[in-house]
């Protein structure tokens, strides 16, 4: 018996989660939704069967020549769980629908933490999601931080974590007005709320964050400094990062001088150039005056995909943490 998964919102995250679900042997996609009859809707209809996310829009899809199998409510009837991949805040609006249909639901990091019973990041707190009905997979930035800090927390006593996030302003597909030349403090008032989001999955980590948007679409970049009592072995940290499949080490020596180069590599490595792994610069890892420095880049479109798969397994108690992560990694080619 496979877990039947509905994807509500076949966009940037939704289409990736749908593909990832379809690679698993213990779950399957029973349909996807879209609000508008665009090219993504057409692709979703062909690949997974399309349902109208907004019931009275069925005709709009039919007018555009896109086959619609019903509405979101029809889809939920066929599903055991819905992965809500709608834009930030819309997930919370959808929740009553899910409750009414009696399906479990995963929300994304754009929602407030209280939308779900628990916030989730595989390495940080897989067990907290076991058997739960409503789980929120934390955002791309939080996932990136949580992975690295989960590993470091197991190795050392972390005194304080300081992270500056240099964020891609929009995703590559966006073509409305944007920040073309400039740097935007976001938020202006410091520290930023991102630290609080990390604490939803790593409550014992003392972390403070700042965040700025810059004119790039490719990846976020995190400059992380971790204050640690006692001695830290940079070689040990590199070894542990090297062992963890969800972290990939990149070296300036090999030509990885910027996020542009990392994406150029990813374009030859996976469809859509999805980088499910944290991209950590090997040379950036350094211990100086009581602080461990790490620079990493995060592919915002892809990073949360494996965590969505793991969350489904935890919620249906299909596997324990190690087994689920191993299976997700193997099926998604995370080596």
């Amino acid at each position: 018996m496979k877990v039947k998964v509905a994807i509500n919102g076949y966009g940037t995250i939704g289409k990736r989660v749908a593909d990832a679900v379809s690679l698993q042997d213990d779950m399957e996609v029973v349909g996807v939704t879209k609000t508008k009859p665009d090219f993504e809707a057409r692709m979703g209809a062909e690949k997974y069967g399309l349902y109208a996310a907004i019931p009275d829009r069925v005709k709009a899809f039919e007018d555009a020549g896109i086959e619609v199998k019903g509405t979101i409510e029809d889809l939920l009837e066929k599903a055991d769980i819905v992965v809500d991949c709608s834009p930030g805040k819309v997930g919370a609006e959808n929740k009553p629908l899910y409750e009414k249909a009696g399906v479990k639901a995963i929300f994304q990091g754009g929602e407030k933490a209280h939308v779900a019973e628990v916030s989730f990041s595989s390495l940080a707190n897989y067990d907290d999601a076991v058997g739960k009905s409503f789980v929120r997979v934390v955002s791309c930035n939080t996932t990136g931080l949580a992975r690295v800090l989960s590993i470091l927390r197991d190795m050392y006593e972390l005194r304080k974590v300081r992270a500056t996030m240099i964020r891609r302003v929009v995703d590559p597909k966006e073509d409305k007005k944007g920040l073309v030349n400039g740097i935007m403090p976001d938020p202006v008032k410091l520290p930023s709320h991102h630290a609080e989001d990390v604490k939803t999955v790593l409550p014992d980590v003392n972390i403070v964050t700042t965040a700025f948007k810059v004119p790039t679409t490719l990846m976020h970049l995190h400059s992380i400094a971790v204050e640690i009592d006692g001695n830290v072995s940079v070689d040990d940290v590199i070894s542990r990062f090297d062992e963890e499949p969800r972290i990939m080490l990149f070296s300036k020596e090999e030509g990885f001088t910027s996020t542009a180069k990392i994406i150029e590599f990813a374009r030859e490595y996976r469809l859509r150039y999805d980088l499910f792994e944290n991209a950590v610069w090997r040379e950036s890892i350094n211990f100086h005056d009581g602080e461990l420095y790490i620079t990493q880049a995060i592919h915002q479109e892809a990073i949360v995909v494996p965590e969505n798969i793991d969350a489904i397994r935890a919620m249906f108690e299909l596997a324990d943490k190690q087994e689920s992560m191993k299976k997700t990694n193997r099926t998604l080619g995370i080596a």
Copy 2:
């Protein structure tokens, strides 16, 4: 008797320093140099009298119809001091020429510190340059940090300063290949050398820095966190910044959401939209868990101009720190 100032390199910094010198009543520009007969050379020739920075290029200027009054060596004969505004590292190569001519010299922050007797930033260490022959005005990033930290050092006991610099990749006039879409750790190995540069003017400040280049030309941005023992009054910090003419406070409430908006203001405020002041976001100033947060933007083309003028005054003992800064501020419209 006015101090006779030669400008070696009429480019981004040189043309601004020349204009600033010509606004003073105790110094004058006796000529500027250029290596190539481009539009900047033509403007320099018309405004200040042009000399060939490389002696055997005199003919190239004449062929282009640009009047040349001689070579750099001819210019140095007429000067009491040369402000070296050539590209990074070239200043050091020029130094023997200045020594031979028996003129004082100011170098810019692109040179290594040992090129000069002392590194200089007005608020930090004006007095160190008094009477000196060779002075290095620190870089735009260092000047921006040094101003803010000089003020805070006078107010509080600073435990440790952490600054992340998000740097404009090139100046606006550059049109060769650049970083168009991406984020570049520069340097990859952390911490960055910028902290050491701050210590050349503020040796008692414990500072660590990281730096990243992003696809913007307008301004650098600094995310600064200052660990301070004891209580800090955000209102006091804002008051002191407000009192200091070389710091300008900007508020998100007034629409200053990014560096693009700050420059839009500057375009109506000064020729070349030169912002000689640190642009500090008022709302960013916050004290949280023992750390004072400050976000500031630095107009890399303009920020060091007042410091170059002050350095000349210090080297010729024309005025003390307060008098010089006041005069420089008044003449450059720094209010």
